[in-house]
Subunit: 471 residues, 2 copies
């Protein structure tokens, strides 16, 4: 049986099974087809049951608790928390001060989803719903003490399935580009607490990478002057530009590097110590790594870290080695049950016996970089443990698991304070006993409001929130 027909046979089995006939969104559809393609046998373990959990009590107690512990001063050890020693002895057990930092950057990445306009009937589909001065305020993130300085937009010259959100309108803010992330800077108070002026870059992900699975197989392309190669799809999003567009006359790469360079100079001229921390989930984690590679090349001496969540592999061994040689530190947060971090290259790397005909391409092999913080769905008593590949991959699931993580041999932290309800914003992972609806993050009436005549209309955006190529 050759591979395509094997795939078809497996897909057939999947489709004929009643369990797989239920409603599917693109994410769950692709995860199903993936789990099949990749011959994954995800365990569906029993609930690690809290004996006689009184959920009503749990709910009540949680509700009267603040969502954050008091912040502590980490200025004396920021380099270690930033990975200077590759987080050696800092991940298992995980100290609270590092946990807080990981969650902070994770919430910066989450903001790129929460503020994104996904509505195809909006003329601003694919943009950020708020201008950069309001973003953190609208999302309740001012508590972290950063200020957004610049929005990043990306396009792609290659037709990558499902990554670009497009408006149905002819007359739209942009036909080619999507809001892809932002650059932020720590304010004076946070700078004092964390011991340096921190430039944070957050990259938006999509559910798309797994849809590119078929394309992924051999499409590595060179980056830099050496043998380093990276996945073609990620690279094209990072570097594409076109004079005929409004938002990508310069590429995402050029936009982010220009702003980061400006900030580094500004604060160094001010005599301050400066760091760069790049974060992203899924595709966003891949872009973060490309961004770190470029920053490492053009800003030598700058402490650079990547904190990624559920990110796929990006490049080959030479790419990893170059990152290491430049001193770029990467902390990959990986959920054991999430399949995206095993892509692409899972077939090459983990099933070599099975596809002997492919071993000739081993010099192209994809590899992960840096240190790994492994979390596990099974550790949390709040989560359903049944197969839910979309839920396993959700960033909010990751943030919940990090919040509850103490060490690989410890149970879920009983004093974890982050709001558990957030997990279900865009998936259905919480146990029913918590009574949190699934996929609850939604606008009232999908944004329609009654006008003066009582007609339901989509309000025009406030002028200050209309995207502009200059922000």
């Amino acid at each position: 049986m050759n591979r395509p027909s094997m795939v078809r046979a497996h897909q057939q089995v999947l489709i004929d099974h009643p369990k797989h006939r239920k409603p599917s969104n693109p994410a769950s559809r692709l995860s199903r087809s993936l789990s099949n393609l990749l011959h994954l046998h995800i365990e569906t373990p029993q609930r690690s049951h809290l004996s006689c959990t009184n959920w009503d009590l749990v709910c009540q107690e949680k509700q009267s608790m603040p969502v954050m512990s008091p912040k502590e001063d980490i200025s004396y050890m920021w380099q270690q928390l930033h990975g200077s020693n590759d987080w050696h002895n800092l991940l298992d057990p995980l100290p609270p001060c590092l946990r807080r930092e990981i969650v902070k950057y994770g919430e910066f990445a989450q903001a790129t989803y929460d503020a994104f306009d996904f509505d195809p009937f909006s003329e601003y589909c694919g943009s950020c719903r708020y201008n950069l001065n309001k973003l953190f305020e609208q999302l309740g993130l001012t508590k972290h003490g950063y200020k957004v300085c610049k929005y990043i937009y990306a396009m792609s010259h290659v037709n990558l399935p499902g990554w670009l959100e497009r408006s149905h309108w002819v007359d739209t803010w942009s036909k080619d580009s999507n809001w892809m992330g932002y650059v932020a800077i720590s304010d004076d108070e946070e700078t004092r607490r964390i011991g340096r002026r921190d430039i944070a870059v957050a990259w938006r992900g999509t559910v798309a990478p797994s849809e590119w699975y078929e394309d992924f197989q051999r499409k590595l392309e060179p980056i830099g002057d050496g043998d380093a190669k990276v996945e073609h799809g990620f690279h094209t999003i990072y570097t594409s530009k076109s004079d005929s567009t409004r938002y990508n006359k310069s590429s995402a790469s050029e936009q982010v590097m220009k702003e980061v360079t400006r900030l580094v100079q500004l604060y160094r001229d001010n005599g301050e110590e400066v760091s760069l921390t790049i974060t992203g989930h899924s595709l966003g984690g891949a872009l973060a790594l490309l961004n770190a590679y470029e920053a490492g090349k053009s800003l030598p001496g700058l402490p650079i870290s990547v904190i990624s969540f559920g990110a796929p592999r990006v490049g080959n061994i030479a790419f990893r080695d170059e990152l290491q040689d430049m001193g770029i530190k990467t902390l990959r947060v990986v959920n054991k049950q999430d399949i995206v971090p095993r892509m692409p290259g899972i077939v090459f790397n983990e099933s070599l016996e099975r596809f002997d005909d492919f071993t000739g391409t081993l010099d192209w092999v994809y590899t992960h970089v840096g240190s790994e913080l492994k979390v596990d769905i099974q550790s949390s008593p709040y989560l359903k443990h049944g197969l839910n590949l979309a839920g396993f991959h959700c960033l909010e699931t990751y943030l919940h698991l990090v919040d509850g993580f103490h060490g690989s041999c410890s149970t879920f932290r009983s004093d974890a304070k982050r709001d558990v309800a957030l997990v279900n914003k865009a998936c259905d992972m919480l146990v029913d006993e918590l009574r949190i609806p699934h996929c609850w993050y939604q606008l009232a009436n999908k944004g329609l409001v009654p006008n003066a005549h009582g007609r339901w209309v989509k309000p025009t955006r406030k002028p200050e929130d209309i995207p502009s190529p200059c922000s």
Copy 2:
């Protein structure tokens, strides 16, 4: 091939066809299986295209228009509009004053959906979200000049698939009953305009009746003292009660008749002319008919009309004849493409050649009663015309079509004023050019709000909106 195996064979075909593997809610699932069971071949006609429609212009013009025409005095002809002459010469063409009345009662029926708590994680799932003094205000229906007097609750002793909405909570407002409708009374101003004090009863429907199709085949049961028989499922919802429940110590029938009788006496004692108008959509239309039958028996001389939307057949010929003999007038609004009004009994009545073995049961045949106002999806340039059985059956689709109806040979009224956006509240029927999201009627964050600590919680209901058996 006997019938069951034929059905299975058809179902198999349905399941194997890729078109039928897409996301499905209960409504679309059942409509698919029905269209198959009933050997329906719904036409999927071409759009009746407005030549060169400038949708932007259409949208703009609509938005600056009031949603209602001025009201006119109908006191001099209310009996005819109430069906005294079986709406003879009043349906084709349809005079504006009757159209307004039909839409008014339709909006009363729509209120039973719009205010219903469908959330299984709500402890008040299955109740009305507002108390009766706030209902019309919350839904923007005070314009009609009625006041809600009484809520009606229903239960069923028989296990009817999918009709009862249940809370996941153990400690819920009611385990057995659902809010099923209400009684309202015209205020003084509206009473002057319409020429009599009008008692309106609105019954909530569900998508369930079509799920009972299999049960429907022979389960007629006697009603009254003669040969009249009605469908068992409808009758059990209308008449079930149990001392062990909080809301159905008396049946829906007893609740509604007690309130209607009280109101009739109150206003007759006041020397006023009184009418009863009962409305409902789908299952609600069936309950309206049972309600009218009972009111006809116990309140002789009271002018009683039923205005139903997409209602299934309810009883046999003797049932119809008794209704006629009592002078009960029924106006059935039927959308040509909606299959629910053809149920139950469609197999008996329309495919006799096919199921010869069943013709022995013809004395049990279900039949429609009263006058029919037939509307047609194809008449509206705002609607998609592709197969969408759930959308064809939606009450808002009906109200849109009535609003645009002038006569069977006329095009959609260009001066129809009702807000077209309402159609898509719970379905996907509007052409994309209108840019109205589908299924847009939804709460912000599914009702979750951040509490004082920033945690997302379901707020407890306002005390005045907590259901009570006394309201």
